[in-house]
Symmetry: D3
Subunit: 209 residues, 6 copies
Amino acid sequence: MIFPILFTFFLLLSSSNAAVQDFCVADFAAPEGPAGFSCKKPASVKVNDFVFSGLGIAGNTSNIIKAAVTPAFVAQFPGVNGLGISIARLDLAVGGVVPFHTHPGASEVLIVAEGTICAGFVASDNTPYLHTLEKGDIMVFPQGLLHFQVNGGEAPALAFASFGSASPGLQILDFALFKNDLATELIAQTTFLDAAQIKKLKGVLGGTN
Amino acid sequence: MIFPILFTFFLLLSSSNAAVQDFCVADFAAPEGPAGFSCKKPASVKVNDFVFSGLGIAGNTSNIIKAAVTPAFVAQFPGVNGLGISIARLDLAVGGVVPFHTHPGASEVLIVAEGTICAGFVASDNTPYLHTLEKGDIMVFPQGLLHFQVNGGEAPALAFASFGSASPGLQILDFALFKNDLATELIAQTTFLDAAQIKKLKGVLGGTN
Amino acid sequence: MIFPILFTFFLLLSSSNAAVQDFCVADFAAPEGPAGFSCKKPASVKVNDFVFSGLGIAGNTSNIIKAAVTPAFVAQFPGVNGLGISIARLDLAVGGVVPFHTHPGASEVLIVAEGTICAGFVASDNTPYLHTLEKGDIMVFPQGLLHFQVNGGEAPALAFASFGSASPGLQILDFALFKNDLATELIAQTTFLDAAQIKKLKGVLGGTN
Amino acid sequence: MIFPILFTFFLLLSSSNAAVQDFCVADFAAPEGPAGFSCKKPASVKVNDFVFSGLGIAGNTSNIIKAAVTPAFVAQFPGVNGLGISIARLDLAVGGVVPFHTHPGASEVLIVAEGTICAGFVASDNTPYLHTLEKGDIMVFPQGLLHFQVNGGEAPALAFASFGSASPGLQILDFALFKNDLATELIAQTTFLDAAQIKKLKGVLGGTN
Amino acid sequence: MIFPILFTFFLLLSSSNAAVQDFCVADFAAPEGPAGFSCKKPASVKVNDFVFSGLGIAGNTSNIIKAAVTPAFVAQFPGVNGLGISIARLDLAVGGVVPFHTHPGASEVLIVAEGTICAGFVASDNTPYLHTLEKGDIMVFPQGLLHFQVNGGEAPALAFASFGSASPGLQILDFALFKNDLATELIAQTTFLDAAQIKKLKGVLGGTN
Amino acid sequence: MIFPILFTFFLLLSSSNAAVQDFCVADFAAPEGPAGFSCKKPASVKVNDFVFSGLGIAGNTSNIIKAAVTPAFVAQFPGVNGLGISIARLDLAVGGVVPFHTHPGASEVLIVAEGTICAGFVASDNTPYLHTLEKGDIMVFPQGLLHFQVNGGEAPALAFASFGSASPGLQILDFALFKNDLATELIAQTTFLDAAQIKKLKGVLGGTN
């Protein structure tokens, strides 16, 4: 009695199977387009494409900013390709700082998992919105606006940042200005900073000119 | 007098032709991305890419659910690639049922062409919305919500389902639960169904474990 | 034994209920925005908001074009508001014509339910794509392109048109040109039509100037 | 020397200020539309609109599923309105289960903050993707697909789920089927479950009919 | 002292660099998809990809319409691929006309740089919106609606048209009707124009049949 | 013979008119949502809603930056509401500068109408893309990235900037950092600028703390 039933169910299923596109795991070897990477062939998709373990490891905060950002964007986590979401781990040693930066492609929600973080963003009308976040608190940073995070406590802090894009981007203000070969004079003209200040930070960050 | 006019019109036309992208007929041999399949080269696009005759043939309802769904999604109908629309034919013999299912990628409007169909969906607050549709009636099923269709009459029913995506997807509840190798115990734990019930339906649908 | 179980399930449910927005049935009395109409309050949503019976009635084709279009766009069918989909009924008497028109806001898939329809669209490179559709055939008309439907047979034809928007819009070429007070001279200048031709069609369609 | 400089800077600023719409904090008293809630007036926006502390408190897992989901969707966290992102806290006691459910409106990334979670989703082709997640691991659940989470360890588990929408929705399979007044016979017809099984779960969950 | 600082900054930077997708310069040799062309490899992107000089040259208006449209759509200007924006130059000699046309894929804002332009569009309810634009005036033409521009003055006019898409498309009414092999009888049937009028314009524009 | 024809055409028209939503002119007195402002009632829409003359007037460049930006965003030009496009006028006196800024909500295409402009943006990998634009040249600035414009010549320059949003936003770096009450110490910590430099610019721009 079971065999004929199975057979006829397959008829229905065969028509639906052909149109499956539940997900589009990134195939980094194929072309990338404005909506994301090309999809891996369905037959080669594995559960590991949807899982990422890289955020379980604390980032190295032995650096000048005493902070580390470990992204699980599409470049690291191909399963989120095309799904409009990604995440990153943020480690802040005592005194650690994620300096002013923007994400051109997505808004961010930050959740504090350990410690205390002072965070803030500046709106287009130049109003700053600042808050000290304790463990479990969340804060949203609207897309494209300058924001920062500072460890506000006396112990290391850990946070996770979620983004509404698989590729939110990250432009760090100081790096954009001082970690390249933009002429000091041009930076001065377009930021009103003093040339000495610019040269000093170029020196720290490895910029030239 | 005509020749010079033609010549100068061509000047205007030549500039506009280069930017044509009215449509993007799916090229199944090229990479697929999150927004759909790659486009066929314009020179190889034919009117047949925009026409599909597969919905003119009644689906085979000689199966356990006495129903058949014949899709014209992008996988069958390459002309809808990237256009945010697709359609499917639904045949329901007397007593036929399209069991609870969802379309993860689009909302659906169903139009009854012949017969009577009892249809319904369940909202996130668990409220069911049920209606008996007569010939010519339409009903909308919001994206991602569980819904079903049952032939509510004494004659075969025919309906067409339109979707707001070229690839709306189709997840049939019973197939997702019982037509694979998910462990019976795990299904029991995550559905509260009895193990005997799960094993019975796995048997019918060909699931294992 | 049942009571404590019910109680604790409610705890989970209460948190999820607050975020429900499965649909947004149009409230025509509240403001409309670029994404559609405001939503009816959840408490006043009924199953009838998701069902529409107006397409079961043949349109009146006793007119000059021997055709009638009966829409179930958001203005008639509030349940599709925000869901990116709508539908319309097309009746074509023998000799009936839906003259050249565009839908600025959506692509269309037409399915022939009765009779024979000659349909076509013109691409931006001026290539016409024409096909004679028999019962059950479908054809897609990409967004914004000029297209038409003509009853190609010797019996009345019936078709359903689905759209990838709740508000696809409809601009009928002849009405846009000749059914208003655009000056004949201006129309001549911007269409190259002869003034006599313009005046003749203004007369038929009720245009002035 | 400073005064004239200030004055002229204001000239530039005055033109840019008028177009600010960096965010759209939800005004629950004003109409809601398909894209979200109406925006609070800029003058009444405070930093607290962008911060939420509700996820710092463990959910009550003293219930039948030994689990609790605490959302920070737009309904709880008005600052995410229109920003395409939200988050939720998931507490799973030992043996805790978030039963099969879908989010019709967004994909999800889950990050395990404490403990071990066995999670899985089923694709449209009925393939299950299962994984045991340790602390720091993340897994993505594509939009609209059935998925679950189970505490796979011997200690309580804590996780955070991020969504690519301010209002991802939540449809819990068992609640949709058994926690309302859908007729047992209709459920049996559309799920192939036995009537006795259905009645049993209606009893547990408070469903009728 | 500088070297260790540089080193540790690089640690932070290395993680962010991998996810860069600020732009997607069109690679015309790779597949095109519904969202646009494939992206050039980052290493081969040059500043010239973001700059276009073709609009600095006046279009040739020595043609029947005394007008020229010079587009900087994605096909001419690969840097706008995926960025949702493009632009075109419009030259109108005295008496010049851009005849009725639509852009199926985007709305347009026209800015008059020199001269006087009479412009107009027709809404779906057939209401014409006309205005005489002087130097510096702008007018918006909503997506997909028929519109035109006419030099309304006694000197050449120059304007720039911006579009909310990298590939807005351009369908010129007269070309779509008369510059192809659509049968005169079919055009007459679907436009109500007289056959003689159609044949006359086919003659001018090079159409056949 | 004309009267019956008119009558029957009206039948077709009446059905299409109800679904018109070609545009959504902003009604600033009604609620604003994430997708834009509420729409004016169709009956009160006038051609002037689609036309704006404010860009015909040179901005006042008698200020510290010798520059002026005159926007025609939705706040100034209600006709672009919901249409995904807007424009601005840029006047640069000799030596004029639009300092580093971002548009969080849209990409920009700049066209130089008079004079010479040195423009540039910095990508997320800190690579600067700089170019000297002559009259007629265009340059695209991808969404959310820091960019600037400087008058590179010996005469006043005029340019028009188009945006792929009706509300692209504008965050000027110096204003965000120095034109508010952010504590000098906090700015120093999150930008690595010296306190003296910060205080100096706060003094120029009117910031406190």
